[in-house]
């Protein structure tokens, strides 16, 4: 397995920072535009990238990310095109951790073994399969491990201790902690994460805990870090900026740059201690 996540979180810890991880859909609003968008996210200071492969029936996603998947699919995005784009980005940016967020049927589509091999060859560090929970994950974890990919699992707010222990032991790279129930979307804000659950995960040996779902503003990032998380993921809020500026690539990149800078700034300890962010 690559050690990009380990290096990242070590470095951030040394600098008293949390990780800010934006999510976008590969191929949205087109492959070339998406490449420029990802460059912008990196330029804005994204610590890692969480990237989706568009799926026809994303049951864990709200309307914003569903629409992003549809835009990408309409432009003809396939898993193979997505892997090609990932490989291109990896060539230019050798250190940034890249995680994939996908659905099970895309992994199985051309064979799970092939999927994880392609991911590995494209420089992907982790794969989270939204509809494969720990209880059903054996085969997916095996292929991930064989290909040096970190399998990432989600820790939901309703998990009991037993489920959290299993999640803590299986998830690698980082732990995706749900900020609230439901599907992805910025319309329902995160709830202040239970610091007790985060420390429970950490005591159980889970890799760094990153909060996702409902993160759209700097204060959400701060709340997550104050609760003991190591970072925050923002998907729908990031994707919404792409949707709001379709056809205007320059404006899209400008707004994304500002958004990422703002949310990244909120991960810097000294800034929010001084209250200037």
């Amino acid at each position: 397995m690559s050690d990009r996540y380990v290096k990242l979180f070590d470095e951030l810890k040394k600098n008293s920072q949390g990780a800010f991880i934006p999510f976008v859909m590969l191929g949205d609003p087109g492959m070339e535009e998406c490449e420029a968008i990802i460059e912008t996210l990196i330029e804005g200071g994204a610590d890692a990238l969480e990237l989706g492969i568009p799926f026809s029936d994303p049951t864990a996603d709200g309307p914003v990310i569903q629409a992003a998947a549809n835009r990408a699919l309409e432009k003809g995005a396939t898993p193979d095109c997505c892997f090609d784009l990932l490989a291109k980005i990896r060539k230019k940016h050798t250190c940034i951790p890249m995680g994939l967020l996908v659905y099970a049927n895309l992994v199985l589509g051309r064979g799970a073994e092939r999927f994880y091999r392609r991911a590995s060859e494209s420089g992907v560090d982790s794969v989270l399969v939204a509809d494969v929970p720990v209880i059903s994950s054996r085969r997916f974890v095996r292929y991930a491990q064989e290909n040096g990919i970190a399998p990432v699992f989600v820790a939901p707010p309703n998990a009991d201790d037993g489920q959290l222990l299993e999640i803590a032991s299986l998830t690698k790279g980082y732990t995706y902690f749900l900020g609230r129930a439901g599907v992805t979307g910025a319309d329902r804000e995160m709830e202040a994460p239970l610091s007790a659950r985060i420390s429970f995960l950490k005591d159980a040996g889970a890799p760094p805990v990153v909060v996702g779902f409902g993160i759209s503003r700097p204060e959400h990032v701060r709340l997550a870090l104050e609760a003991g998380a190591d970072g925050a993921i923002s998907g729908s809020a990031t994707v919404a900026l792409i949707a709001a500026n379709l056809g205007d690539a320059k404006k899209t990149r400008g707004e994304l740059l500002k958004f990422v800078k703002d949310l990244k700034a909120a991960t810097r300890n000294e800034l929010y201690v001084r209250g200037t962010a």
């Binding site: 898993p79 051309r110 998990a159």
Partner: protein, 398 residues
Amino acid sequence: MEITKGAFGEFGGMFVPEILVPTLLELEKAFEDAQADPAFAAELDGLLKEYAGRETPLYRCRNLCSDTNVKIYLKREDLLHGGAHKTNQVLGQALLSRRMGKKKLIAETGAGQHGVATALAGALFNMETKVYMGSKDMARQAPNVFRMRLMGAEVTPVETGGCGLKDAINEAMRDWSANYADTHYILGTAAGPHPFPTIVREFQRVIGREAKRQILEAEGRLPDAVFACVGGGSNAIGIFADFIDEPSVKLVGVEPGGHGLHTDKHGATIEKGRPGILHGSYSYVLQDENGQIHESHSISAGLDYPGVGAQHSHLYSTGRAEYAGVTDNEAVEAFSLLSKSEGIIPALESAHAIAKAVEHAKNEKESKIYIVNLSGRGDKDLEQVMSFIKNKEAISHE
């Protein structure tokens, strides 16, 4: 696939976001406890009898196929309260919801029959009910939309994907992953994640149990074949269940052939799909080479689904059941045929099973007994069949 929970051979399982796992395990436990509780069975049996009108007749057709060697019996689920077999399992799941202390019900519906059943249960148990229905289906099954609303359910149009049953299930699952704490999702078919395929089969098993006893009373022997339509497959698994261990009984699942299996407009998931993961289980799925789900097509909203219950995939792969398609045209012909020959207007879904049974009957050289599950009544389909026939006539006159 290695399946840890709810396996039907290599099919089935629980492929859902992690957040739904505690909810599904809670449901599994409630179901197992209820199955071991005689009071639960007594209450459900009472409701099925007094409220829903069980048992339903097994009627021997007087005219249909009288020129063949086959006696056709219809299991009259169309006479069940609500107009289709759906009421059987909805009453069971509504009792489970109450047992788990849930206050609200959500459901998806295609033809509207499952939505109607959930709406009547919501009214009966005084629970807030929300039904997701594709906007395409709301248009073609308008009478059922009105029925649901009349009984107090909120019907929410779904505008995503193909605006059909698949998309309604997507939306119901999204709702459930936010509101599981006080809400039970009454999945309407034998598909979906564990424990739904098992729960739905067990609550629909009453169809086959009665039919088996009734045919033994009437004929003194088992039938030669049992026919049922298959969308997700709940009425089929319900009537098959008690015959699976009777190897002399042929089981035939009838899939929606739409415009024909040589076209891409059909819903013949088992014949034309391949195994994959849709809506929580590993089963046959209509999909492209990359795993994107195909939109299905059928004149029958209740069969218009690109997935199928995991146990059907298992019955198919082991060869215990066979699956065959019937086109839109053939289904409409059977719809008219049964109406004319017996004075029974079947649901378009059930008309698929009738069509396949009649086709088989014509080729039988020896005397045989068939049972066809007449899963629902056709009132909801009148307008759609009228316009289908009109369009066809217009085309043939051109």
